[in-house]
């Protein structure tokens, strides 16, 4: 797999192959509807989807939808972080707290968050708060768990040494706790970010809260499938961008940590 190769060959492997693969897939989805393998009416060729994408990108409507989605996602992530990290530290650092909260967490976590949609509709109608609440409920868990595991992983010798040298609570937090839990928190935030986006878009699509998801539903019901797919493409690209940003930040900020020297698990998105 890692055969020594010349720079040119490596370039071919790294850049050319993905491009070729992408080209093949795009060509397949261009041709399939044209020759009738896929129904032309409901599945426009990719060139038309890209055309529609180019058309919508400049529009005020698209920017408003994108902003609505991004904003809700951002607010949800701030809330998830503000609640998940301290709560995870609190629960994780005490055996009693872990025991007391375990059953409750184990019960709440597997509840598919989308089950709450009807309740949230009652409370919020189609206001953005609906998708934010939905995203917070679903995206809290990955970060909470990572923070819990992280705090348990703090080296007790370092902690006790800092205590013995008379470092205060905040100094210990800054010098010991935060650096040693940083990789866990970073992983948790990356996972939570993906889940939060899923749930924000779900709220928009299912309930009709302003945003990319609602636009998808709007053009789906209107039968403008090329525009519908263009919005789906936009949502996918947004997800990709969020993934890339979080992975890059994780790498940059935690370059010193051992976890960055080998690849971790691809846990993907849970909700």
């Amino acid at each position: 797999m890692t055969a020594p190769a010349s720079a040119a060959a490596r370039l071919g492997e790294r850049v050319l192959l993905p491009l070729v693969g992408l080209a093949v897939v795009l060509a397949a989805f261009e041709l399939a509807p044209r020759v009738g393998v896929l129904p032309r009416a409901s599945f426009p060729p990719v060139s038309e989807v890209f055309g529609a994408f180019v058309d919508i990108v400049g529009t005020e409507e698209f920017r408003a939808a994108l902003w609505a989605t991004l904003r809700a996602w951002g607010i949800a992530m701030v809330l998830v972080t503000a609640v998940g990290v301290p709560l995870g530290f609190l629960i994780g650092s005490s055996k009693v707290a872990t025991l007391v909260s375990r059953l409750t967490i184990d019960f709440l976590r597997p509840i598919p968050s989308v089950a709450l949609i009807p309740l949230l509709v009652l409370i919020y109608g189609t206001r953005p708060s609906l998708k934010i609440a939905l995203a917070v409920f679903g995206a809290l868990w990955p970060l909470l768990f990572q923070a819990m595991y992280g705090i348990r992983d703090v080296d007790p010798v370092a902690r006790d040494t800092a205590k013995a040298y008379g470092l205060g609570v905040f100094a210990r937090l800054r010098r010991i706790t935060l650096p040693s839990t940083a990789p866990f928190v970073a992983t948790g935030m990356r996972l939570s970010a993906a889940v939060a986006l899923i749930l924000v878009v779900t709220g928009e699509y299912v309930v009709g809260v302003e945003g990319l998801g609602k636009s998808v539903f709007f053009f789906q019901s209107g039968g403008a499938y090329d525009t519908m797919y263009a919005y789906i493409l936009a949502a996918g690209l947004l997800g990709l961008a969020i993934n890339v940003v979080f992975a890059t930040v994780e790498k940059r900020v935690l370059f010193w940590h051992a976890s960055q020297r080998s690849t971790g698990l691809v846990t993907g998105a849970t909700a």
């Binding site: 797999m1 025991l99 899923i198 779900t202 699509y205 789906q220």
Partner: protein, 306 residues
């Protein structure tokens, strides 16, 4: 403190009991439309879900989930092994897999609805599409993590490719495959519910939304509780099954808790937990699933690097 006579179970129950009690008390005299008394929710739970709607809603939901999820598992593992073993194909597929992983799974719903119409097939397809990628990508990662020396050794001993996959690749990748399958359950359940909220005539998601639309808040809460229980039971079932199937792995990695190790040291079922590679029997598949012993033996064989 945890050694107190009340012990661990009691401590674990404190918070849930307190929360339910709080819910019960604060809602008891509630006349709010949003916040019906818990007693009425419990009545609804009994009237609706014991057991009238089990066959009309719960069973169809679970049947679709099972079908879609199993399809995702089979396709995800098969494709994942293929991509994991073929680096060039994996590179070529990368843009597509990365995009599909980043795409919020609920957006498979519009695609399936406009292509397949609304029905059981489309719901199963949506569940499968939603959960397949996380299984696939984890399988790819697990397969990539297989020690290439093992495969080279097996190849030089003339082990045919399909046996290499069943005896080396799949067991070695199984912990990561299990991670993907567990995540897949969560996504699959989400897809199950939202597919039923969009143009359906039965199912858990349909029932909850219908209750809300007919101003039956207690019924809605009852439905949410049922969905929560389904999520809990499905996850629990998976954890138990995984624990049984993957016990060999924890044993081999020294991840079993002390009690289990001690118990197995005293009453070994077949092979001791930490055994000598030579001591294992010839058949690599024993009662506890594939044994790692033959792999450990292969480690000793001289190999060439790729």
């Amino acid at each position: 403190m945890t050694r107190h006579w009340l012990g661990r179970p009691a401590l674990q129950l404190v918070l849930p009991v307190a929360l339910i009690w709080l819910w019960w008390v604060t809602s008891a005299n509630s006349t709010s439309y949003f916040y019906p008394p818990l007693s009425r929710v419990v009545d609804k739970l009994r009237d609706d879900w014991m057991f009238d709607r089990v066959s009309t809603d719960l069973v169809p939901s679970l049947a679709r989930f099972t079908a879609g999820y199993l399809l995702a598992v089979v396709v995800g593992i098969a494709l994942g092994v293929a991509l994991g073993l073929m680096p060039r194909l994996r590179r070529a597929a990368q843009p597509v897999t990365e995009f599909l992983r980043a795409l919020p799974p609920p957006l498979f719903l519009p695609f399936v609805i406009v292509t397949l119409d609304i029905g059981n097939t489309s719901k199963i397809a949506v569940i499968a599409l939603g959960s397949v990628f996380v299984i696939l990508l984890n399988t790819v990662d697990g397969v990539r993590g297989v020690d290439p020396q093992l495969l080279d050794t097996a190849a030089s001993f003339g082990v045919p490719r399909h046996r290499q996959i069943t005896h080396i690749v799949l067991p070695a990748a199984s912990p990561q495959i299990a991670v993907g399958m567990r995540t897949g359950i969560a996504v699959g359940l989400i897809m199950m519910i939202i597919s039923e909220m969009q143009g359906s005539t039965n199912g858990l998601g349909y029932r909850v939304l219908a209750a809300q639309r007919s101003f039956d808040t207690a019924g809605m809460f009852a439905g949410i509780i049922v969905i929560g229980l389904v999520g809990l039971v499905v996850n629990l079932g998976f954890v138990v099954a995984e624990g049984r199937i993957m016990r060999w792995y924890r044993g081999a990695r020294g991840l079993l808790d002390e009690q289990t190790v001690e118990r197995r040291r005293r009453w070994p079922r077949r092979a001791p937990v930490v055994d000598h590679p030579i001591a294992a029997d010839d058949d690599p598949v024993d009662a506890d699933g594939p044994s790692t012993a033959p792999i450990a033996t292969l480690h000793l064989a001289p190999t060439e690097s790729r």
